[in-house]
Amino acid sequence: MKNNDQNGAKILEVKDLCKDFPGVRALSNFSFDLYKGEVHCLIGENGAGKSTFIKILSGFFKPTSGSIFFDEEKYSLLTPYLARKIGIQTVYQEDILVPQISAAENIFLGSEKDGQRLFIDYGKMADRAKALADKLGIDIDVGENYERLSPPDQQFVKILKALALEPKVLILDEPTQAFNIKDIGLITDMVKRISAEGVSVIYIAHNLDEIIEVAGRVTVLRDGKKVNTHDSRGKPLNSGDLAKEMVGRPVNLFYRKKQHAVGDYIFEIKGLKLKPDSRAVDFRVKEGEILGLAGLKGAGRTEIARAIFGAHSKHEGDVFYRGQKITPDNPIKAVKSGIALLTENNKVDGLFMGMPVDHNITIVGLDNIGKLFIDLRKEKKLALDYIERLNIKTPSLDQEVRFLSGGNQQKVVIAKWLFKGVDILIVDEPTHGIDVNAKVEVYELFTELASSGKSIIMISSEMPELISISDRVIVIRNFEISRTLQGDEITEENILSGFMGADKSVR
């Protein structure tokens, strides 16, 4: 539209696209265009319509109205087959690859060309996979089984698989979701290389810095409508502006925490060793304190947290609560002692997706609502209190939690533990995959909990989160504490230096 001066030709143009689901307009008069070799980012909160749009482009949804022009050809709808045929490839968040076969086999699965007739020439296949990876500057072992690759490498394989079909448009749906900061750079570099080859990319992500790094243009969606399209060649992109447009009101990316008094040390980890040869981990947590646990993925943060909770085996070490040795060797004991573990992936090990909201909230604290039998009326009433207190959005208490958004699911998990009445909350990536608004709500909740005397140990990969929420930060590196930071020391540089082990003073 106003970008007519763009030098490439338009590969894709979408006009007045609408998609209705019963009772809801998921996409409303959405117009969008994409130039050859451009990276066009889509941002918006969960439910803004991004996924609906890319599902229309990949042929999984039939648009209610509107038209799609691809390579000057008009389509009123696409099927998955047609979308692929004309050159649209989508890489979804979900894993669709086969874990037990090699990266190379996965890349060419379904499009095997070598020795076509009956047998596959694995040598040639590996060579082609390697060549493809090299072209994009990726260093992976294409012969390794997919399941043994690291999350970033798995993501690369998914993207390479899409590229193997030589698409004109590549759609990446939150490709960096499971990544830490260092690895996000790998993906953004790769995407830049891909677009330099002339492939157009539609890129969806929540992390605004990443968007600004990679985007040519950014389109903001809200409630199924386009809010604005920004061009990086005009005014430089600004994360504050983008966030504001996403939520429809100004947001602070750095949450400003209310200060409150912190009590004495009440929770202590002594001499914790997960492996016989690692150095012991010792730390203490105060009453009402939020202790950040920083570290790269794989540094051992999650394992240490799980070991404290009795859900991961440890070599030795003890846990003390208010001077008493509790050292849980299973979660049953941990929960009895008043410790909660909120894991990173609620779907896998936090929620009962097929159970209604109220049953999820009360499951750990069933003792509060009956001796042998459950007082169902009391259960509903108390569950409702938590739904109101935590501002959980659900049409009813009977709604199965799998139908809630990520942010609301996270709040249900928090409610589950608060209902039990725990004193120590260990939270692993509490805002992973939830939108900006929900994040702020989680931060507010944590601050409120801390000021009411609960202690929170928060594992996080997000710098703003660690820096703005934590009273102290412990940096974990290779299953050991590499730095302890408090007050003004909690800066991005110091945390990063802890990741790398650059700080010698603690040795």
Binding site: F21, P22, G23, V24, R25, E45, G47, A48, R222, D223, V247, G248, F309, A311, P331, I332, A334, V335, K336, L341, T343, V348, D349, G350, L351, F352, M353, G354, M355, H359, I363, V364, L366, D367, G370, L372, F373, I374, L376, K393, T394, P395, S396, Q399, E400, F403, L404, S405, G407, N408, K416, N437, A438
Partner: protein, 324 residues
Amino acid sequence: MLDKNENKKTVPLSKRFGFLRNQITYLILVILVVSIVATILNPNFLTTRNFFNVTQQISVLGILTMCMALLMISGGLDISIGTMAGLVGMVFTRMVLSGYSITLSVLAVVALSTFLGFINGVIIAKSKVTPLIITLGMMYVFYGIALIVSEGRPHSLGGSFEFLGRAKIGPIPFTIIVYLLIFAFAYLLRRYSKYGRRLNAIGGNVQAAFLSGINVDMHIISIYALSGMIVGLAGLVLASRLGMVRADSGTGYELQALAACIIGGITFEGGRGSLVGAFLGVLLLGIMYNAMNIIGVSSYMQTIFLGAIIVIATVISNIGRMRR
């Protein structure tokens, strides 16, 4: 803003969920249709006598279905319950014939089946092997033991234990009362007890249940044991109703119980499904069999129909998930 969004988003989903819940409505509908068709074809179908006949025929299956339903909701399964019931019936008959008192024999075989269920539970909880494989093996083990106990012949109770399977209170067969009591017990357990709620959670997501501090192994072992205890009762009803017990008297019930659960909307995934659905599943199977008998459908055709019902019911209950 988020709120509006959320509400809008959940409308179609809750509708879909409503469909699943309607499985019960649709089961009742199918039962009514089958009954009406059967009555038109043969008015003898719609008599009190035939009604009690049907319910008496389904009582053993009904009791076993409650075991299966509780296990499936907990994420488990036990296909050894059929031969276990047969073994119970056989041991009981031989004890009675050897001169032991009825009371002692009843207590002994219920203790036996509880123990057998306990064994199943321990192996499944501790080995983490899928219950299908474990209980498949145990199915043969129980059958083999029953064969040994029977010495390969049928044994007649000789009319000494007719009360449980054949007695009537007024016009109502006693077995129906037993079945309804078991159903009520299972229903209360599932809906109102903390134990039942935790079983449900284990069935829904065993990893999350473990991390929520639920003693997963204890719950799994105890529900298999409890199921075994109920199987013992079913075996006694079976022996009493048949009067003449063979080692394979219970064989086949396990798959029918599984079928009734699936027809009733209980899935292999666990964590959900309703006992009322399973109850209606049993009723539907019983009515179908009875109607086909009364109309004069050959027993071979009946088998085909049974299979078809299972397939159709499973497909229907899956429609919600197919439309995505």
